[in-house]
Structure formats: C-alpha cells, structure tokens
Symmetry: C2
Subunit: 384 residues, 2 copies
C-alpha cells in the first residue's frame, strides 16, 4: 500500500494533508509514504522532518498519482476546481483519493472524478458518530477557524478586548456577539472570553444554550426558536423565511450593543441563511467589526463579500473563506490526525479493505467504479 501526499495548489492554501508526526502511524500499518517535495513547507514542516520519520519523496504531483494506491490531499478537485483540474488526468482507475471535495456543493466535480474510475472519499461526509470523531475534518478545521475569527476581530477593533482598570482610567471590555454555536462558534466564544471580552452568543438550536453558558458567555434566546432545528447529523437545518425575518430583527438588536459580531451559521451544501442585515450592521458603534464565516456560500451578513474587506460607515466587515489555512501548522496537525485515522479504519492486516458495511466508509465514499455511489449524493443528483 503506497500513500502519497501531494503539495496543495489551491491559491493561498498553506496546509498539508499529512504531517511528519503521522508518518510512523502509516508505516507501522504497512504503508509506504511518499511526499511530494516541499508539500509541508508552507505549514512549517520541511522535507527533512518527513525523511526523519521514514517517508520517501517524489518530485512531482504526477509522479505521486502514478505511484500511489492512495492520495492524501486537503483539497481534492471539488474544493480546488481550477488548479485541481489537472488531477483528473493523473487519476488511475481504482485509485483512492481522500480529501475535502465539497460533494454537496460541487456535484459536477464528483461526477468528473467518477468518470475517471477513481474512488473518492469526501471527508466532509464523515458521519457524526462517536467512532468517527477523530476523523472529523469539519470539526477540526472549524476549531481553528473559530479561534482565528476571534483574533481577527481583535486585530481590527479600535478597542482592547479586556476590561482594564489602570491609573489612566477604566476601559470597558469589548462586547462580542457570536452567532451560531457549532464548533467554530464555540471556539470563537472561548477565545474571546479568554481575551477578556464580554460575550453573548445565539444559536437556533435550544440545545446549544448549555454549551454557550459553560464557556461563560450569555445565551441570547429568541422566543420563537423552533424545536427540531438540528438535523440527525447534528447540524443546524433550514427553517423557512418567516422565521428568519424575525431572527434578523433580533440579531440587529444585539448588534446595536456589540463591538464585534462573528457569524458561523453555515448549512452544508446550501446557501447560508442571512442573519445580519446591512441595517443591523449600521446599528453597531463606530469602529465595530463583523466577521462572516459563512461568506463562501452567500454569507450570514448581507454586506459581506468572500475574502474581501468591506467598510460600511466605519464598520469593518470581513468574509474570510479559508481561515484554517491561516494557521497552517496546527490545522495540518489536526487534519493529518483525522485523515490518518480515517485511512487506518480501512486497513486490516496491512491491506486496504473497503468494507461497505462500515458506516464511516459507506457514508464517505463518493465515487466507485465509474459511478457516484453515495446515497445522499445520488438523491441530490436525482439518480435512482
């Protein structure tokens, strides 16, 4: 079993799918690990560290695909549609490709991979079951994104986060409002609290209250909140326009008393709900900062633009779409842990063994033998 790690070539992507520390876990399981030269450099892992852990090297991406049974990448073609297109030509029939693939957002890409006869495992589809927690890349990368969002807001804010009582008077703490208390939201709350901000958080799922409060934040509750706002996978689900209108008014109220708003309400594969209107943003104090972690798919904040800095009446609105990559060392460590655990779950006695009765394997495989095989994807594509 040969596992190859290619250098990421999505613009600005600094992560690497495997870090040196994970190499021995694979070699012990019988794998030969090939690293495309320089693959870890941007994340702070020079080739020498991989060599020290027993990896070998290939000179090019093409050579990696030629030699490997399994390709590891952070962003496979679906999440890297331009530079990643060349990968289609390199894929071999039966080759296993493991990475993020945006299967629910980019079905066309999945079909193209299927036509290459590769077996694509889309890590976004890892089921949210206990046994798969250690493989959950969405959670691990959202942890980084939430931390980074709280820091970015602090860097753009003309105030400090903590309350300070000094000889030069008392400074009030910054008021941070986090919308969406999933993994990213909870980490943003925790980070803002650590820095001394006063934090309020909102989530459509009433179950989130306890988690929000356990971090020392205040939980804002809209009386309307529907039961059953969470799907069986644990993600927030879509609730209809009337509900969202009332929700937006409520969000605007809290924005008017906040120095920072961080929105994290993304629904996998769908357009993100609009939660904060431009009217709501304008109600914030001068110099406030808004960060929209859902900007990639429409955004939770009306005025946000993907990867742009928007200034609106002195309020700064950011829509970063790849925050995890901005902390590439730790993000790669976590991704590497996830993808290694995922592969090892498919290895029995040093051989690959794709047991389709395993929920994790069956839930994550997107393409096999020329077809899109995932039941959820086939449903979306209206295939039988």
């Amino acid at each position: 079993m040969i596992v190859a790690v290619v250098r990421e070539n999505f613009p600005g992507e600094q992560r690497v799918a495997l870090v040196p520390g994970s190499v021995p876990n694979l070699t012990k399981a019988g794998a030969i690990v090939l690293i495309e030269k320089g693959a870890g450099a941007a994340a702070g892992f020079p080739d020498q560290q991989y060599a020290d852990k027993g990896a070998e090297f290939v000179e090019s991406r093409q050579e990696a695909f030629e030699k490997a049974d399994v390709i590891f990448q952070v962003r496979s073609f679906g999440t890297n549609p331009e530079a990643g297109k060349a990968d289609l030509d390199y894929m071999n029939p039966g080759q296993i490709v493991i990475g993020m693939a945006d299967p629910l957002g980019n079905l066309a890409a999945i079909q193209e991979v299927a036509s290459r006869q590769a077996k694509l495992f889309a890590l976004e589809m890892i089921p949210r079951i206990t046994r798969a927690q250690s493989m959950d890349v969405l959670s691990s990368q959202a942890t980084i994104a939430g931390y980074r969002a709280a820091l970015l807001a602090a860097i753009h804010l003309p105030k400090m986060y903590p309350m300070l009582m000094t000889a030069a008077g008392t400074l009030s703490p910054a008021r941070v409002f986090v919308i969406g208390a999933g993994v990213a939201g909870l980490q943003a709350i925790a980070t803002a609290k650590r820095l001394g901000a006063v934090v309020t958080a909102y989530d459509v799922r009433p179950e989130a209250k306890e988690q929000i409060e356990s971090l020392g934040a205040k939980c804002a509750q809209l009386q309307l909140d529907a039961e059953g706002a969470q799907d069986k996978g644990g993600y927030a689900k879509d609730l209809g326009e009337e509900f969202y209108t009332k929700q937006r008014d409520f969000m605007g109220e809290i924005c008017s008393e906040s120095d920072v708003v961080i929105t994290t309400a993304a629904i996998p594969g769908r357009k993100s709900p609009l939660l904060v209107t431009t009217y709501g943003i304008r109600r914030m104090p001068p110099g406030s900062v808004a960060i929209d972690l859902a900007a990639e798919r429409g955004g939770n904040i009306e005025a946000s633009e993907p990867d742009q800095t928007v200034q609106l009446d002195g309020i700064t609105i950011l829509g970063p779409t790849n925050l995890a990559s901005e902390i590439p060392n730790h993000a790669s460590q976590m991704f590497s842990h996830n993808i290694t655990k995922f592969l090892l779950n498919m290895v029995k006695e040093k051989q690959l063994h794709l047991n389709m009765d395993d929920d994790i394997i069956a839930g994550t495989i997107a393409t096999n033998e020329g077809d899109v095989v995932n039941s959820r994807l086939r449903e979306m594509m209206e295939l039988p």
Copy 2:
C-alpha cells in the same frame, strides 16, 4: 482659558488627544474646549459626541492655534517633524502646547519650539512619582502596545496559542518569550497568558521577577544580572557592551525554544540595546514570529526594520513603531485621561497657574520664554 484639540496629522496616526468623555472635566474647571472638526473621527469619536458634552468647534488647525491658550495634541512637532512643522508658524508667544515631543531624541525640535516663545510640555518627561501616575502617557500607551504585540504575534503565527486536547489530537501551546518586563512587556505577557500560551520573560532588572511570576510566566534569569540596572526614574539603564554580549547569547538560547519573541527594551532618548541577533532569530522554529517594539531607535532585534515585515528563513520579524495608534479608541481614552489630569494639576480656581515648585510641572516643561528650560535637556544640550 481656552483649550483646543487639533486633529493629528502624523501619517497613520489615528488617536486624538481628548475624547468626548473628558470634555466635562475641563469645562467644570473653567475651560472652553475647542475641537478641530473631525479630530476624533479616526478613533471612533464623531464630532456630535463632543458637541453633546459641551465642546465647541474650529474649522482648521490654524484657527485652533489662533484662539487657544492651551493646545492638546498626541504628537507635537518633535514627534511629527514633517507635517507638524507648520505648527511652528501657528504658535503664539506664551501659548501652552501639551503633547508628546520626543525631547530626548529630538532636541533640535525643542529648540525650534523655544524660538517661537511657546511653553511646551513634553509628556514623556512626566516624573515617575505616585502623584503623576494618572498622567503617565508612556505607561498608558505602552499598555496598549504590549497587548497589541501579543495579538499581532498570534495573528502571524502558524500555530494557535492555547493547548487544545481534541478528538483530532493534542496541540501543544505556543511558547512566547517576552524580553523586557516594563509596562508593555507585562501587558504582552498577560495577553499571551490569557490566550493560553506558555510564557517566559526576561528583564535585566532583578526586581522584575516577582511581577513576571505574578502573571504566571516563567522568569529567565541570567546569572550576570547587575544590581542597579534601573535608574531612579524606574527605567532600565545602559550597562555596557560586555554585559550585552553575554545577554545576547542567553537570549538566543531561549529563542531556540520559542515560537514567538517580543522585545520591549527601549531606553528613553537612546539607541535601543541589541538583544536578539540574527543568529538567535535563525535558531527559532520555522514559522516563528519576532516583534521588536524598540525598532524605532535601532531595535532590540538585529534583523528588524521600523514598520517593515522582514522574512528570514521563514521567520517573520515585525518592527511596529506606533502600535498604540492601531487601537485608537482605547488608546485615546487613556491619553485623554492622562492629559486632562495633567492640565488640571496646573489649574487653580479656574485659572492656569504654572507653579515651578511642582515637580510635575517643572519636570515636564521643556521650553519657556524663548529658552529650553528643562534641566535634563539643558544638560544634554550642554547649556549652562
């Protein structure tokens, strides 16, 4: 008594010398407060807020100087040599100018102000006595700079500060090394600790150990450390080249085990001591970050350049020279508190009263009746 606040015109300067909340403190003491229109805008204080607190407005800088008995500015001519030069023509004989003036670094500017017959109070010279603590702009602005330095390092670091134990493995905390435990250093330590980093700090003054440890950081001690490394004003003083060579070797040792180094060792009016050599920086792990808060006067880090980002073998070196201005709202609040207390100390029964027996007034006044009058400055200028 008319007090006028001018809009700062040093490039990138966003602070304002007086915030709306301080206006009533001055009017109650008999002052009329004039604000140059837009003076507080960049710091998040629109004109309306000043009007609400009882301030009046002038249209131009020139009008401010024409009408005022007292000018408030963050950066007077000495710290704003290009754009501030025009102020010389506006100054009236006997006019009081209060602001930062870099008196020990820019003596020529002080002489020019003297020749205009103005009374310049250089806030950097406020004595470090208990009664003057509330007026100490160096301390208040260093508080902001230290906080900001710790955040900037976090934003540039490819790792997170806190230790995280997650389903995706355990991430080690970042190791932050702070050199110089004055106000800025202590605030950098406190901020890095809040965010979860493991912090080591060093100060040449053995007295600093207790303060460093009280913040939960480890104190690195060089056995050589001299007694009497602190002058009678509480600042670190110059100790000679042999001592510094040994100190640099020791700093390099600690750098080799640090992800972040923040240096804060500035000596007022002097070239800063070189503490971290390029060899020391190269010993840091890939992706490390070094921030030199003394870059304006030569720098503590050999490779730093004022207000530049230097990349050296994948290590990022920043030399920001005006960090307080990057958190202008809170920095201005503190500055405003300081300068207001300073002026009120010179007001008796609603009249200005320059009592030269007052240590604060005598220690801070730089020019009067055409002369440089400060004894420390006269000594530096070799005047009798």
